[in-house]
């Protein structure tokens, strides 16, 4: 109880306590999601995009970690296993090194066409008895028995005279059955009816020295000719120089993905800076900058890509990767610049930006807080779609022989090589082509997913 004068009442210390900050009542709202958290949540719910994301991560792992696991040198040439498809038989026998043949025969004499020595992949040595009326001979080799059409197969060689009745075949011998035919020729080199045929099974051999140097056998085991060995394993087969396909695919992935990711990253970055400058400055600067972008966009792209490629001139030992990236950056930035400029112009007019400005926000703050986050989604989507495009361009240029220089492998150049052997060794085309397809597909679907996740308005209806 107090009277009016008690207005001047000073509380005794300890009577009143300051209010505690209110104990937070139990909240039922969810934690507020940032733009990115929301996007990530939406992306996760898109199964296709998620799988694509995993594929992309897998591809990167294949590129970066693959060579650590599969340590075969992509440049090492296994000349005993050229263009071998996956899963081929790898057994071989050790032999002495090759020696020129003096024409002697180690096998029992037999009439007609015969082998002088057991047939190996090193050499098939043939002897034959003179044929009637021959002034010279031609030797054929086939992989099929003689057919009614009388196709004798590959013409291997002609002798100069009738006196030469022997021939040594070393041409691309594979462990399989061959059918050799010797045909008599007349004075003008025309074929006579007289001929002789022999079926030969060739055994795969490898010299002791080669086997030791390739690590197929250990030198301390004292390997002897006649021992059996297993040739090196190539899970995806080999290419036209006996190089391991898997190792080359990994190495090629580095090149293709480097070009495919680096070039878009750079030109999107440049385009973003360029476009946002134009959009932000506005007025004459904007006009001028965008007019220049229009010029660049009007250049016929592929023609200029090729022009630049040769103008930069790939020097000796260079792979030609950088010139390609530079050319792409020089030619592809305007699309991003246009897009970003448009986005900036749009965001600039948004209510929240105006509000921020009225509240006295500085330019820096506006750019960092509003402009960039609100264009980042669009940029990210552009980037994702630019990657498959860049990979395609690399593949296309390599296909017409304007791509990376040998021996650098890229998926495109591997396809280019593979397409030549499409009929005989399809694996040389299929593997790189499938890699390109998977990559392109994954980035495309990921791009779709990102677009849906980042911008509800841009949502595609699928």
């Amino acid at each position: 109880m107090s009277d009016s004068r008690s207005m001047s009442y000073q509380p005794k210390p300890g009577v009143f306590q300051p209010l505690m900050t209110e104990q937070r009542a139990q909240m039922l709202t969810r934690s507020s999601l940032s733009y990115w958290e929301d996007a990530w949540r939406r992306l996760k719910s898109n199964r296709r995009a998620l799988i694509s994301l995993y594929i992309v991560i897998g591809l990167l792992a294949f590129t970066v970690l693959g060579p650590l696991v599969w340590t075969i040198d992509p440049a090492a040439q296994d000349l005993d296993q050229i263009s071998t498809p996956p899963g081929a038989d790898r057994s071989a026998t050790l032999v002495e090194p090759y020696r020129p043949w003096d024409g002697s025969s180690a096998l029992p004499m037999a009439p007609g066409l015969r082998l002088a020595e057991p047939a190996t992949t090193q050499a098939v040595r043939l002897l034959w008895d003179p044929l009637e009326g021959a002034s010279a001979y031609r030797v054929y080799r086939n992989i099929f028995p003689m057919d009614p059409g009388d196709a004798l197969g590959l013409p291997l060689a002609e002798t100069f005279t009738a006196a030469e009745t022997r021939f040594e075949d070393r041409l691309d011998l594979q462990p399989r059955t061959y059918y050799y035919t010797v045909v008599a020729l007349d004075d003008h080199g025309h074929q006579l009816p007289a001929r002789d045929t022999l079926e030969v099974s060739v055994e795969r051999v490898v010299t002791v020295r080669e086997a030791v140097s390739r690590g197929l056998v250990k030198a301390e085991d004292n390997p002897q000719p006649g021992d059996a060995v297993e040739l090196a394993l190539h899970p995806l087969g080999t290419d036209y120089l006996g190089r391991d396909m898997l190792a080359r695919l990994m190495y090629g992935a580095r090149v293709s993905l480097f070009i495919g990711i680096c070039a878009p990253l750079l030109f999107v970055l440049f385009g973003t800076v360029y476009g946002s400058t134009a959009g932000f400055m506005g007025g004459r600067v904007d006009q001028g900058l965008m007019r220049f972008a229009d010029f660049v966009i009007a250049l016929p792209f592929l023609l200029f890509m090729i022009l630049f490629k040769i103008a930069f001139g790939i020097g000796p030992g260079e792979s030609g990767i950088l010139p390609m990236v530079v050319a792409m950056v020089l030619l592809l930035w305007p699309a991003t610049a246009r897009l970003v400029r448009g986005q900036i112009l749009q965001v600039r007019e948004e209510g929240y930006v105006n509000a921020a400005r009225l509240l006295g926000a500085r330019t820096n703050y506006l750019v960092l807080r509003h402009m960039i986050p609100n264009t980042l989604g669009v940029i990210l989507v552009t980037l994702t779609f630019a990657v498959p495009n860049a990979i395609f361009i690399e593949a296309f240029l390599s296909f017409i022989g304007m791509g990376v220089a040998p021996p650098t492998p890229s998926w495109g150049s591997m396809c280019n090589e593979g397409i030549k052997t499409m009929l005989t060794y399809p694996h040389e085309l299929i593997f790189p082509a499938v890699m390109i397809s998977i990559t392109v597909l994954a980035f495309n679907l990921l791009g779709d997913g990102l677009r849906d996740a980042l911008d509800a308005k841009m949502r595609s209806t699928e």
Binding site: F392, T461, E462
Partner: protein, 310 residues
Amino acid sequence: MWRYTLRRLIQGVITVWFIATATFMAMHAVPGDPLTSDKAVPAEIRANLEAKYGLDKPVFQQYLIYMGNLVRGDFGISFVQKNREVNDIIREHFPVSATLGILAIVFAGLGGVLWGALTALYRNRLPDVVIMFLVILGISVPSFVFAALGQLTLVNLNDLAGFSVLPVAGWGTVWHMLVPSLVLGLSTMAYLTRLMRSSMLEVVSSDFVRTARAKGLPPTRIFSKHQLRNAILPVITVLGPSIAAITTGGFVVELVFAIPGLGRYFVQAVQQLDYTVIMGTTVFYGAFLVLMVIIVDLLYGLIDPRMRLE
């Protein structure tokens, strides 16, 4: 409208000048020159050749001469085909590329609309699944693989049929055009199919279609008058840019199918460093594309009032 057209045309001319200058500069940065020959020739003869082609003059003077000729529509003489004018080369080979390109665009456009509408109609049913799978293939497989496979298929088809159903390579008759232009239009067709499908699905759930249904319009009418017509609009918008992609993308198809188009010629000219042909082709293509873009933009204005520019 007329002022707009005029403005666009003037801009186009400046663009072409820019293209020509850029080509000229790129070309002269290339090491080596077209006069280098297989058999070494005495220095006197080389000097003669250089004088003939004006390569002995300073670069800037060469540039002025080139631009002067360009204004008169003269692209010069080929270095490799020593007696042929680049104008002749373009006149003879461009129609081939253009034919191929037009057909490919038509295939892509009509095919895209058809498949896209079909997939939207049978959403998540068998036709949709099958077509969308093919579309994914079309988008993700490189064009040269398609071209090679296309030719292989033709050979086997003819082999199987026992007579020549369709020619495997070459140019000259209607039948030669079919498969190459299909292959060329394939990836664009796949892209347009996707676009058409999502556009259709959007239209199906739009207010005016619901209204039309509520009014009790016959389904035939709703489909053709409302859905198809509106869904096609975005497809038409992207057709313009695809023209550029397809005309230059003809390289691979022309190489594989031995078609005497300008694209194949360009690749050969590059291998031979044939200055005048490279420059002529690039400038010509550039001018052609610029013109196409202008025409397409003007047409949009006519088709869609919303895009009409003042």
